[in-house]
């Protein structure tokens, strides 16, 4: 397991060529309550890519993410081509929790990272490490804030930090820029770039911000129960193409983002 810190590269940074497959999905179908949510999904995520998953609401994107995470009955094959003890980093779009529980960001990461019960250990030892982890997503200043009091964007940054520790083979992001202001979205984009370019992280992200996706993604798959498009983002740069794959409301959110 590697540890990621803000200014160091993991020792075993892979120099594999970009053509290596990390995740292969073959003929995936998912039924929920009698409805077919996903039909014969075929898709490949390559190592070191930012792979965007797009589609209108209700297309099955979150279901696909959950199937990859495991625990969702499905037909077809989801094949991981990496070490079996590697984690999948997961940052969900919505995380339901009780906002009144007195748990700080430091507590949150401590219970994930240490074996000894949190009420029997001093926070000093792990605090330094947690600070470093939070620094990756520029959230060190949130360390003593109660989780219940964080804004959407702040919480998302903390969740991203925890998903990166230990460094996963693949990071699954479900709508990372939703419910976040423009500055937050820009920060996110910069972070994702850094993670891919400097640390070789593979990222599968569900998104709606088409301009961000066009800037960021190495490959785009569009689904609406089945695969509608699967190719490089350049193929999407053409009049009308995007409208086919999104519903109309998406276009407006990108109007004031600079190229």
């Amino acid at each position: 397991m590697q540890t990621l810190t803000a200014d160091k590269k993991p020792l075993s940074l892979n120099n594999d060529p970009a053509g290596v497959n990390l995740l292969e999905i073959e003929d995936l179908s998912v039924f929920l309550g009698g409805n077919q949510i996903l039909k014969n999904i075929n898709m490949v995520v390559k190592k070191g890519h930012i792979h965007a998953l797009i589609g209108p609401n209700g297309a099955g994107k979150t279901t696909l993410m959950r199937s990859i995470m495991g625990g969702m009955p499905h037909q077809g094959i989801i094949r991981f081509l990496f070490r079996s003890n590697s984690l999948i980093g997961y940052v969900p779009q919505l995380l339901e929790f009780d906002h009144s529980v007195p748990i700080t960001v430091c507590d949150f990461l401590s219970i994930m990272l240490q074996e000894k019960p949190i009420f029997l250990t001093g926070s000093r030892s792990i605090r330094k490490k947690i600070s470093e982890i939070l620094a990756i997503t520029e959230s060190e200043h949130l360390i003593d804030r109660l989780i219940g009091g964080l804004s959407g964007g702040e919480f998302r940054r903390v969740l991203l930090a925890q998903a990166l520790e230990p460094l996963p083979e693949i990071l699954l992001l479900d709508e990372p820029a939703s419910n976040v202001d423009e500055y937050g979205a820009m920060l996110f984009e910069q972070m994702l770039n850094r993670l891919r370019d400097e640390h070789g992280l593979t990222i599968l992200m569900v998104g709606h911000d088409i301009k961000m996706i066009l800037r960021l993604a190495d490959r785009v798959t569009s689904i609406n129960r089945k695969v509608m498009f699967d190719g490089s983002p350049d193929e999407l740069k053409g009049p009308g193409k995007v409208a086919e794959l999104f519903d109309g409301s998406m276009a407006t959110s990108t109007d004031n983002v600079e190229e």
């Binding site: 984690l87 997961y90 995380l95 339901e96 009144s100 007195p102 401590s110 219970i111 219940g148 969740l159």
Partner: protein, 298 residues
């Protein structure tokens, strides 16, 4: 060995170092029980409150009547129906967890249904097994019966405290993460279902162990109220656990002491003390400058 301890403490009491009630062995036992069970209740309570298992806990307590009846049925002594109590309550707890995870009914409904059934079944069983309706026996089970606390109970409690305490420390971080959000816990490689069952077992042991001191009807209060009170004044998880433990231990020990002054079952007085602490924290809340928690924010 315990007799020597009782003589020692009784001696101190008669010499005036301790209140005179401690000349009575049952009070010494009660106080030892209170000191053992207090911290456990407080610790376990933090998880129960976070996982919203309060109602669920009540059902386990209600199973006590059936547990005693079944124990009697199998020939256990009236004051020591250990197997019946632990066995039945564990079965109820595990079954309910199973149903909760599998059923489409809301948790609230499932628990509501079982809660009443278990209590009714218990009264029925008790009457059938003992051939009469002995209100004092029922009262003792529901409200606590310090007088019937035996040395065996105390030894069982001591063992349970150590075992549960250690196991609780062992799983605390993980069960807290599961309580916070099971999907995230799963993403980090934990097994939420297994951990939940594990915790339910620990919780059931704590509930059954505290029955004689506090009673089946009121044990829920001691699990929930100290943790709830702690929540009002703490700022992080570490404080949450320790303040909850302190509150519950004060409740059991001070409550027990006070109950010696009035002809009221210890359980009721213990509950009153814990309630006073809770309302105290509500009033002190502004002093602790609770910032940062706002309802409704993501």
């Amino acid at each position: 060995m315990l007799d020597a301890l009782y003589e020692l403490i009784g001696g101190w009491a008669s010499q005036g170092y301790l209140p005179s009630i401690f000349e009575h062995t049952f009070m010494i036992r009660g106080m030892l029980a209170a000191m053992l069970i207090g911290p456990l209740l407080g610790g376990v309570g933090t998880v129960v409150v976070t996982k919203k298992l309060s109602f669920f806990t009540q059902t386990i307590g209600n199973g006590a009547l059936s547990g005693v009846a079944i124990g009697l049925l199998f020939g256990e002594p009236v004051e020591g129906t250990f197997a019946g109590l632990y066995g039945f309550c564990l079965i109820v707890a595990l079954l309910m967890t199973f149903v909760k995870n599998r059923s489409r009914l809301s948790n609230d409904t499932v628990i509501g249904v079982v809660l009443a059934q278990v209590l009714g079944f218990g009264i029925f069983m008790l009457v059938v097994v003992t051939n009469n309706f002995n209100i004092h026996q029922v009262e003792g089970i529901l409200f606590g019966s310090l007088i019937t606390l035996t040395d065996n109970d105390l030894m069982a409690l001591a063992v349970a405290s150590v075992v549960v305490g250690l196991l609780f420390c062992f799983i605390f971080n993980r069960i807290m993460l599961v309580a916070f959000n099971p999907i995230l816990a799963k993403a980090r490689g934990l097994r939420p279902v297994f951990l939940e069952y594990f915790f339910i077992v620990l919780m059931t042991i704590v509930v059954v162990a505290s029955l004689k001191l506090i009673g089946a009807l009121l044990v829920l209060v001691l699990i929930v109220v100290p943790a709830a009170g702690a929540q009002n004044i703490v700022n992080n998880l570490r404080q949450f656990v320790w303040v909850s433990i302190v509150f519950s231990t004060i409740s059991t020990t001070v409550g027990l002491l006070l109950s010696a002054l009035f002809p009221i079952p210890s359980g009721a007085v213990i509950v009153l003390v814990s309630s006073l602490l809770f309302y105290g924290t509500l009033m002190l809340k502004p002093l602790f400058g609770k910032s940062g928690i706002q309802q409704g924010q993501v």
